[in-house]
């Protein structure tokens, strides 16, 4: 077994689990809070649960794109610092990448909801509040599709801030 690769694998797994737990818990809390406070949506509303699930999937898809750039950054920073400074820089870098991906997802969520509300004469959140599963499914599909379409662009945006070594103009 290659010891260094095993440890790198553990760092990757640990990073992915930590980011996953943190982001998904945060997203769930925010969505629940927004639903209750602004739309008076109750816990047993199936439509809102579907919508929440779609948001969580969308966030998961987008955040999954930051793990590889994060590991690339780690490998590039690895030689320069001691363990504690490197851990600090790694968490800081991760926070910046998460912020970019999370902002992108929120932006996409708002666009998809706005898009659907412009395409139809109905009030979507009112329909979800009244447990209209059909509307929830369609908004969720738009949200997930837009996330899948934009994920590569967001990853590229994150790649642009990785401190890669300079290359000559080949």
């Amino acid at each position: 077994m290659n010891y260094n690769i095993a440890i790198l694998g553990l760092i990757e797994i640990f990073s992915a689990i930590t980011i996953g737990i943190f982001i998904l818990a945060l997203t769930y809390k925010i969505v629940q809070w927004v639903g209750k406070k602004y739309y008076q949506i109750k816990d047993y509303n199936l439509s809102y649960s579907i919508f929440t699930a779609a948001i969580i999937i969308a966030v998961g898809i987008m955040i999954s794109g930051i793990v590889e750039p994060l590991i690339s950054s780690f490998r590039l920073l690895n030689r320069q610092s001691d363990s504690f400074t490197l851990a600090f820089k790694y968490i800081g870098t991760g926070a910046i990448y998460i912020a970019i991906a999370y902002t992108a997802t929120v932006f996409i969520g708002l666009i998809s909801t706005f898009l659907y509300s412009k395409l139809t004469p109905i009030d979507e959140f009112e329909e979800i509040r009244q447990n209209n599963v059909g509307v929830a499914l369609i908004i969720s599909s738009i949200l997930i599709t837009l996330t899948l379409l934009t994920k590569n662009g967001v990853v590229l945006l994150i790649e642009a801030i990785i401190p890669y070594p300079q290359l000559p103009p080949i």
Binding site: N2, N4, I5, I7, L8, G9, L10, I11, F14, S15, T18, F22, I71, S72, R75, L76, N78, R79, S83, F84, L86, A87, F88, Y90, I91, L156, E159, A160, I162, Y164, P165, Q166, L167, P168, P169, I170
Partner: protein, 266 residues
Amino acid sequence: MKGIIRFLTFIIVVYLVLSGLITLQKKKPVVSEACEDGYEEINERNDRWHQRDWNAISFSSSFCATYQSEESVSLANAERRNKITYEAFGYEDLWGTVYRSLIEDSKSTIGFLVDSLSAISREKQLSRSDLAEMIVAFVQDIPYSYVLNIDCDDYETGDRPCIGNVALGLLSPYEFIHSLYGDCDTRAVLIYTLLEELGFDPMIVVSDEYAHAMLALNMPASGDHLTYRGNNYYFWETTAKGWPIGMLPPSTNNVNYWKIALVNEL
């Protein structure tokens, strides 16, 4: 308040676990030697005495190597390179044939460099992967130059050094270490020769789309790779310092555009 305490505890635990894992992953620094990069001409025949100083990529160490190169050997290599003939059916096949001819021709002339790098590795007790990294870093440390089959004046080279009117736009390994002029495939061919001589399993990959060549190495690693006959060959950018194994530059990171030009079939 409870939420904030929980969040801070979470961050501290993550920080401590990460620090622990990173400490386990960090390689011990290797004793470094200090010397200066450069060469001097030692006689009127233009023979040179070189001194190279370079740093490892993933661990803290610097290396120092000295060697002597002869103009007459370099010219003889150039003459044989000019006579390389090839029959090929595709882009990667063509370059593979050319690279193989150069490598076979060069093995006898760069044996001294193989011995010198192995001696450094033994002295510093490097592992196999560290030895490969030391060799790639040695070549990465040599500044990039254009090697063109046309005149340098007919090409936009910027401030980069350029050597023009070279058949195939490629120098042999000996010419490279003598002149220190090397573009992407010149570098890949030198590293391939050194690594193959040391028992590694390297590969040269080329891309018509990116107009670039690169080394790939079958070694325990992680990151961007090509799979060939069940083995993973990890890409290694050689044209600039600091690129680790398995990391493709964002400008050339579509693996589908990379084709195998040369691999040891034995």
